[in-house]
């Protein structure tokens, strides 16, 4: 087990190193940062000094090493547009994105799995057919359109929910600004989290349905029936557990992409998260933010992947054996 974890951590480091390389390369391809700092009439001597002070006259490999060294210490430099440390900017906005992503993931699992189970067990019922049709919409409609439609319906027409922002936020333990503790914060979460989670929800529902139907045909379920177990035990103790093994992987990976692709939802709802910050950085060629965002997201992906693998082993004893060996 330990060997497996260590191996995975080493692999993860390789992935992150590669991403860091890419992130660093961005700096070198979008022109000379010194030119952005100095004005046109700055004397050449002054320009040289600035270049030296920023360490930009060192060989590329040294610069790269320095960038990595700082990145490991969570120092991603200063944002060009805000003149603030990048890490501070990201840290301020991370809670908004993470809360949104976690709530949408939770919703998509809490609704998607029961719906999938229901549509698999009552395959021919009216509801199952309706769910199945609705899920097609969820899978095929683009996120921004869903967001705009929801805003139009619930914010503009009905006026029940706010159309943008996080509502009132409370700062917990000095760092984390949460919208989960106020009514307006929770209200503000509803539309964006549905928008962000709808695709995952329908995806999970369809996945659970397909997987469950497959499992219900398998030999061990047939044998469970022959053993005279109750329908409830067969469906929920045996079939559902087998169904969830592959669902864990997808759900885990989806959490990663929910965080990464919150960009669109955050834009539609003016959500003050990392995605919105990233988009602004792209518009203003704010390379330090883009690079840091890239690295943080990939670190997140890698971590989630590893957790998923460990969870997998937790659920499936066969994999536990291979991991041990």
């Amino acid at each position: 087990m330990l060997a497996f974890v260590i191996r995975r951590i080493l692999q993860s480091c390789m992935v992150l190193l590669t991403v860091a390389l890419l992130a660093f390369t961005m700096f070198r391809f979008v022109g000379d940062p010194v030119a952005q700092i100095v004005s046109l009439d700055t004397p050449a001597e002054e320009v040289r000094k600035v270049r030296e002070s920023l360490g930009l006259d060192d060989p590329v490999i040294v610069q790269m090493g320095r960038y990595l060294y700082k990145a490991v210490q969570m120092d991603f430099g200063i944002s060009y547009q805000f003149r603030q440390p990048v890490i501070q900017l990201l840290a301020e906005r991370a809670p908004a994105t993470l809360e949104l992503a976690l709530i949408s993931s939770f919703l998509s699992l809490a609704i998607g799995i029961p719906m999938g189970v229901y549509t698999a067990l009552r395959r021919d019922s009216l509801f199952a057919r309706v769910f199945q049709s609705i899920s097609l919409v969820g899978v095929s409609l683009p996120t921004f359109l869903i967001g705009i439609l929801l805003i139009y319906l619930f914010a503009v027409t009905l006026g029940w929910l706010p159309s943008f922002g996080r509502g009132q936020v409370v700062t917990v333990s000095g760092r984390w600004s949460t919208g989960l503790l106020t009514v307006s914060g929770l209200k503000a979460l509803i539309l964006p989290s549905i928008t962000l989670g709808l695709y995952q929800m329908t995806l999970i529902m369809r996945l659970v349905r397909a997987e469950m139907l497959e499992v219900l045909r398998s030999d061990h379920i047939k044998f469970a029936r022959a053993r005279g177990l109750t329908t409830r035990a067969i469906h929920f103790r045996h079939a559902l557990k087998s169904t969830l093994v592959p669902v864990i992987t997808i759900a885990g990976l989806q959490l990663g992409s929910i965080i990464a692709f919150a960009v669109i939802t955050e834009t539609v709802f003016q959500w003050p998260g990392m995605g919105a910050l990233f988009l602004k950085a792209v518009q203003n060629v704010d390379i330090p933010i883009m690079a840091a965002y890239l690295m943080i997201i990939s670190a997140l992906f890698v971590t989630i992947n590893m957790v998923v693998d460990l969870l997998y082993a937790f659920v499936d004893p066969r994999l536990r054996a291979t991991i041990k060996g």
Partner: protein, 328 residues
Amino acid sequence: MTSSAVTPPVLELRNLVVEFVNRHGTLRALDGISLSIAPGEVLGVVGESGAGKSLTGAAVIGLLEPPGRIASGEVLLAGQRIDQLPVEELRHIRGKRIGTIFQDPLTSLDPLYRVGEQLIETIRTHLPVSEQQARERAIALLAEVGIPAPEKRIDGYPHEFSGGMRQRVVIALALAAEPELIIADEPTTALDVSVQAQIIAVLKKLCRERGTAVMLITHDMGVIAETADRVAVMYAGRVIEIGPVRDVVKSPRHPYAKGLMGSIPALDERPERLLQIEGSMPRLTAIPQGCAFHPRCPHVMPRCHEARPVLEPIGAGQVACFLHEVRS
């Protein structure tokens, strides 16, 4: 008939008909199966793939896969009709009064639960015992089916057992609630030849000790000859011959049974060629009129094309063939 007046047979099938209804029409997969198994008796059911052996087993325990259904006929368990029971009552019979063993032990067990958990859940579904009592019973069962160090192995997962050991676990599961009847559907087909004999020995021993009747479905005549008391030979969804194992194996009467037995290589003689029946079993969609075997039968007579022979007693058994009707 072997059923005595005193005790009814453990299982009796009367004219059982199983049909599959789909868009294209109705397929008759089992066509009037009649047979019975006495308490403690082992009835072998043989035939080619698709003859309806497994389907007969599934029909008895009420686990026909839709669109398959029992169209007519009766299934009696210890004299009581069970084919019309509500789903929930039939479930109580499965596992409790009829145990089942399937072909592939590698896939019969749920890979995500410990062997003990599966045994305990089966025991507690059918018997009013505590968790602790069920566990003790599970250990005893594992010991009985010949699993070494059962108090340790009970906490193992199925993948930690070999194929033969897993089939022993499956047998333990089938015996968990002391059923009157075990339906063993190809219990050794997926196993190594060396393990097959062990599994058959375990099954035979336990059933004899408990007086459990067995319906042994297989296409392995060796297993039948060694284990069964009586044999039913199936062809195209019908029983064409049934009788004591000695008679049917040594001197089969139905031409198909003759062909089937002739295709078994004997160890003491070396024939030039193994006997072979010309042609192949008809598909369900194209079962011929009259006797289903007539297109392949070497003794075919005109009336075989029109009328369907029924099982008639002959000697200690029964045969469905006009050849024997004529003679008797």
